[in-house]
Symmetry: C2
Subunit: 425 residues, 2 copies
């Protein structure tokens, strides 16, 4: 069989592939992931393929509902937290909506009253759609903010106003039942797709679609990476997971260093994925986990870099870099008296400067023997963002399999929820 | 002598004071810090006192210069990176300008061309002041962006337009010489105040003053904390530093968990302070350092918390909390069908909710024996922010003394700068 594969739009340059390669462990994780997929226990592997259809349907549903509203829409309000907002933010920061379809996204996320008040002020109800996103329907911040929105904007569930509301939740959740009772447009999250792995499901794709993003192409990129990985074409993901997990005592901290402000929300999305998936008690009762840190270059060269270079040798660093920012902003080619020392970048583009800074920093880490690798996007476009999201999801699943943990639950946070409820009794 | 001390506006609840208390080590650090101050080697200890005068002068200078400009000013542009921007951002996110004096602050910071382009678009030259901030005058991002601003906005150094420019730099630096040659208004940073300890010097205070902030009161709060510490009234700072440094093998990671979006930039400021100050090769040639992580509550309960609770026991956690947000935003007191489970917060304020979440999370960490403490601000006001900044600076100096390192330099980042320059040759 001469299977053909799509082409990757991101490049991987790895140093985590040194021996020992732990080939048995890699093989085990690969089989484990295939089994997760085949059994239907882990749904995110299939979402990029199955959700193309959902996007068509969502598009029709959104059109049908919003045309009942009197004014044109310019704002998408996302009411959600954690896995229900981080992925949308990550994509929004990297991509731009289609020309003519741009809508502003406002996030109502935290229970911080000052931040909420500020965000609410920016919302004009007549021009807004509201997406309430919660897998279980029991998220205290999301449900409290949803009530606040209903009350503040005087949205009655028995009026035409409810056509501004969209609910994204698990099938049969309490929130789904609520949606059905009041005939609010609803999108479901597959039950086998966990919150932090849900960006490519309705959770991320529907609000982004409503905000004007080309989500079909994001799914195409994602599907490409899934196919290549399960087709055995992206084994470096397994090699990296083997390196990181077998070295977790030596390198307990994994830094993701994105060279562009555009990556800042992406690294936050990664931090949840990595921390919450891998920070677990393993099958033998041991506390395991790898601590993620998100940095932004070149800014954090002036903040965190010193610690990586001279501090304890307990970190790996993954660089993310954009080859072509598609802007032509240049450093003017003139000299300022007394400040000639910085003239060496005169006439160069900022694109060249920031990437040279990324390369120089990487090289300086190599010299002091910090394990590093890079993920390079040729351009930032929908396909490469889809691939990037899946790259980190697959890496996380592979690492979780190698650590013999349940990658997809989060039992540790339940205690705090119980204590919170007790405090109000 | 019955010395009287000002009152603290923040409260400290610590669990890091368990035996062994390392009293000798605490005493050593305290003496070391007194010596740093007395010798004049470390200048930030005196800045809150000495810079009250600077603020008066700066106020007059700003007034005198800006009245030469034709239009009224509504924007302050900060051109700086690392220690030259993080402190300003931290304060800006926590406080509000004086009514009637509010100006927008725009940061030109990173060498990211997309971000730069976006920020430049927001600037109207006629209504803006530009602050170029660099201790040495050799910061590649800052100088390149400065040139870009001169060229983009057609600011000629021999015209009246130069009255929009302000330079904040070390006395006798190349940037200072440049300012003098072209008669640009200049403010100096004391030579003995390092970049990451400079927020209360001209670096932070002058742009914040220009943007309408009550910086005098910030300095008052800061001076209060300095006086109390050196008067022996804040020894818990030494106790905490002793706990963190003597446990650096056991707890190599220190989390700062601020319960409000307002703290997000503050934690970034802290990350630079802690990482760059303590990540060093010590006097015996050992790599030492503590890894800081900034989190935002309640958001990161849905992201990082699982790792702290079930993952490796390698973290301490410091909570920051605001007792009174001074807003009355409440969760509406009604029930949504099927979603009654979240009704237990009905009628409560979001202020109460977020702080209960903070307390519940803290309690859940105590139950699994993670070392925690809290810093509690009654309100967010100028004095408490001044105190909070100095609290962390003093903690850093104490930790550095106990680790026998140079807390105030950053030799590790030089290598990358050399490599960068070579890449352009």
């Amino acid at each position: 069989m001469n299977e053909r594969f799509c082409e990757l739009k991101l490049k991987y340059e790895g140093d985590f592939t040194l021996p020992p390669k732990h080939e048995e462990l890699q093989k085990y994780a690969f089989e484990h992931m295939k089994q997760e997929r085949k059994s239907g226990n882990v749904g995110y592997y299939d979402v990029p393929h199955t959700h193309r259809e959902l996007v068509y349907q969502a598009s029709a549903k959104l059109y049908k509902t919003t045309k009942k509203l009197s004014k044109s829409i310019d704002t998408v309000v996302v009411i959600g937290i954690g896995g229900s907002s981080l992925g949308i933010k990550a994509v929004e920061s990297l991509l731009s909506p289609l020309p003519g379809e741009e809508k502003k996204i406002i996030y109502l996320e935290n229970s911080d009253p000052v931040d909420l008040k500020k965000s609410l002020k920016k919302i004009k109800k007549e021009k807004s759609l509201f997406f309430v996103i919660s897998k279980s329907g029991g998220t205290i911040e999301t449900m409290s903010i949803f009530k606040l929105v209903l009350s503040r904007f005087d949205i009655h569930l028995d009026s035409n106003e409810k056509n501004r509301l969209f609910i994204i939740t698990d099938k049969d959740s309490v929130l789904s039942k609520f949606a059905q009772k009041f005939d609010i447009t609803e999108f479901n999250i597959p039950l086998n797709v966990g919150g932090r792995f849900s960006v490519l499901s309705a959770v991320g794709m529907v609000p982004l679609l409503a905000a004007g993003y080309n989500v079909q192409n994001i799914l195409d990129g994602a599907a490409c990476m899934i196919d290549r990985f399960f087709g055995g074409r992206e084994n470096h993901i397994l090699e990296k997971a083997a390196f990181l997990t077998t070295n977790q005592e030596r390198y307990p901290i994994n830094v993701l260093f994105g060279y562009s402000n555009m990556f800042e929300n992406f690294t936050k999305w990664f931090v949840q994925l990595w921390a919450e998936s891998l920070g677990k008690i393993d099958k033998d009762g041991n506390r395991v986990g790898l601590t993620p840190i998100g940095l932004t270059g070149a800014v954090d060269q002036h903040s965190f870099l010193q610690l990586i270079i001279e501090g304890p040798r307990n970190k790996t660093v993954t660089f993310m870099k954009i080859n072509d920012f598609e802007t032509d902003l240049c450093i003017p080619d003139f000299s300022l008296d007394f400040i000639e020392k910085t003239n060496f970048v005169n006439g160069k583009s900022f694109n060249t400067l920031i990437n040279a800074q990324c390369d120089a920093t990487k090289q300086s880490l190599v010299q002091v023997e910090v394990p590093v690798d890079s993920i390079i996007l040729q351009h930032v476009d929908e396909e490469s963002v889809g691939q990037l999201l899946v790259y980190f999801e697959l890496l996380t699943s592979a690492a979780g399999a190698m650590m013999h943990i349940n990658t997809y639950d989060q039992p540790g946070v339940e205690l705090g929820k119980v204590i919170l409820q007790e405090r109000f009794q």
